[in-house]
């Protein structure tokens, strides 16, 4: 951190000196943006983590014998993948409160007014549900990529379908889904910026605040882009490495 104005809070420095040199301005806003990037990272990790849990169950459900389970999971995937994430975020943030309010009132616990959901849980919910649908398809493809003979060999030994899944199919499928899951992580890192629209203070929202407060959008958005790259590039490299490794020796 530069010490142009020792002892003054960064925000104060920024408002006091609107004509800072570009480089100095970047030095000042970078730590602020990095802190916001931490929120982006948290949102992404939690959303994709939930997505993996949802997606593992629904991915298996997509291939279930029971046609009703297949139908339900297919609908879920189609609904989520067929609508914009932004709309899903709005549905959770603006759409759920009146519904929850009505339900709570039905239970005799409220007056029927909408029950506000704070930005953070709303963001986590929307992103998790969204990620779950994409992970579902990743897991389904991963399971289907395993040779049919594996399931047959397991069943021929008397294992139940569930045992075969748990001990034979999923361990092999999990290895193959790591690269696509990393890609989902990268996509979510970027797409999570949409929760800036419900006042969730992550990287893009912070960028908006800084850009409009100090009237310096060019440098701000440049800095935001650089931080996104810093977050995504290591994962991109990791995927390339994994894909090369998985190609040789399974």
């Amino acid at each position: 951190m530069i010490e142009l104005y020792p002892g003054r809070p960064k925000e104060v420095v920024l408002t006091l000196y609107p004509s800072l040199k570009t480089w100095d301005f970047l030095h000042l806003i970078f730590p602020l943006l990095l802190k916001a990037a931490l929120m982006t990272l948290i949102l992404t990790v939690v959303a994709v983590g939930n997505g993996i849990i949802i997606g593992t169950f629904c991915g298996i459900g997509r291939l279930a014998r029971n046609p009703f389970i297949r139908f339900l999971t297919a609908i879920y995937v189609d609904l989520i993948r067929g609508t914009p994430l932004l709309v899903q975020i709005f549905m959770v943030y603006f759409g759920l409160p009146p519904i929850i309010g009505a339900i709570v009132a039905k239970l005799g616990l409220g007056d029927g007014n909408p029950i506000h959901i704070p930005s953070f849980p709303a963001a986590i919910m929307a992103l998790s549900i969204n990620s779950g649908a994409y992970v579902t398809e990743i897991i389904r493809a991963g399971i289907q990529s395993i040779d049919r003979g594996q399931m047959e060999a397991a069943r021929s030994l008397g294992m139940t379908h569930a045992q075969a899944m748990r001990y034979i199919i999923l361990p092999q499928a999990m290895k193959r889904v790591i690269p696509p899951l990393c890609n989902e992580f990268i996509a979510m890192l970027k797409d999570s910026s949409l929760v800036s629209t419900i006042a969730m203070e992550e990287l893009v929202r912070k960028g908006q605040i800084i850009a409009t407060t100090y009237y310096r959008p060019a440098e701000t958005w440049f800095a935001v882009a650089v931080i996104f790259l810093l977050l995504t590039l290591p994962v991109t490299r990791l995927v390339a490495l994994l894909e090369r490794k998985l190609k040789t020796g399974d």
Partner: protein
């Protein structure tokens, strides 16, 4: 031990098995031969219910296994071992784990018991030193011997083999056939789909010739190979011998 009555199998509108009736006695070795696509694999897979028969009945130890209400398919399958053309070993598990997993999960053996059994079986197929190897570190012949040991670890009452040597390089066929001959000598009940006519001649009690979803002819190896009665059998044998 295994009785099949008028077994039919359809895949959609494709009629693959067209009424197969047969009886495999305890300790009997039956070899199944026939052209590719004639339904040999489907027949074998129906026996341990990997395929659901479209019609007909199958009895195992006098219990009707095609009666879904009365039977748990997993209990049937653990009594019938199966060896596949392409081995189907579990690639993420060592040879030892491949063999010991099902006895632990299905038979409820402890790890110690299952591994002791697995080592004993590895000894019998001559692969004790490969216990910690993964399938991709083994030759085809070694993989198939591990696959046989894996099936045997469930202590099945009968074994099904679906062209167990067809995916092997010629120099590895013998080591697998030797293991199978050992099982024959021990009195295992076996149904073997094979193109190894020498093996069938040597160990089979009975040979079934299947063509187009029906058993065209059956008899002792001598009857089938030396004095085939049916034109189709002669045709087939002249092509492969």
């Amino acid at each position: 031990m295994i009785r099949v009555e008028n077994l039919h199998k359809y895949f959609g509108r494709l009629h693959v098995l067209k009424g197969i009736t047969n009886h495999v006695a305890q300790g009997e070795v039956v070899c199944v031969i026939g052209p590719s696509g004639s339904g040999k694999s489907t027949f074998l897979r129906c026996l341990n219910l990997l395929e659901e028969p479209s019609a007909g009945r199958i009895f195992f130890d006098n219990v009707e296994v095609t009666d879904h209400r009365a039977i748990d398919v997993n209990e049937v399958r653990m009594e019938i071992g199966m060896v596949f053309q392409r081995f189907n070993l579990f690639p993420h598990l060592t040879a030892l784990q491949n063999i010991s997993l099902a006895p632990m999960l299905v038979r409820g053996l402890s790890r110690e018991e299952a591994e002791a059994r697995a080592y004993e079986l590895l000894d019998r197929v001559g692969l004790r030193e490969k216990a910690q190897s993964y399938p991709d570190q083994l030759s085809g012949g070694q993989q198939q011997r591990v696959a046989i040991a894996r099936a045997l670890a469930m202590r099945p009452k009968a074994m099904l083999f679906d062209e167990p040597t067809s995916a092997l390089d010629p120099e590895m066929i013998k080591e697998v056939l030797d293991v199978m001959k050992m099982l024959v000598a021990e009195g295992m009940t076996m149904v073997v789909v094979t193109h190894e006519m020498g093996f069938a001649r040597e160990v089979a009690d009975r040979v079934l010739f299947i063509d187009d979803g029906v058993i065209v002819e059956e008899g002792t190896p001598a009857e089938i190979f030396n004095r085939p009665r049916q034109e189709r059998t002669r045709d087939f044998l002249s092509k492969i011998l």
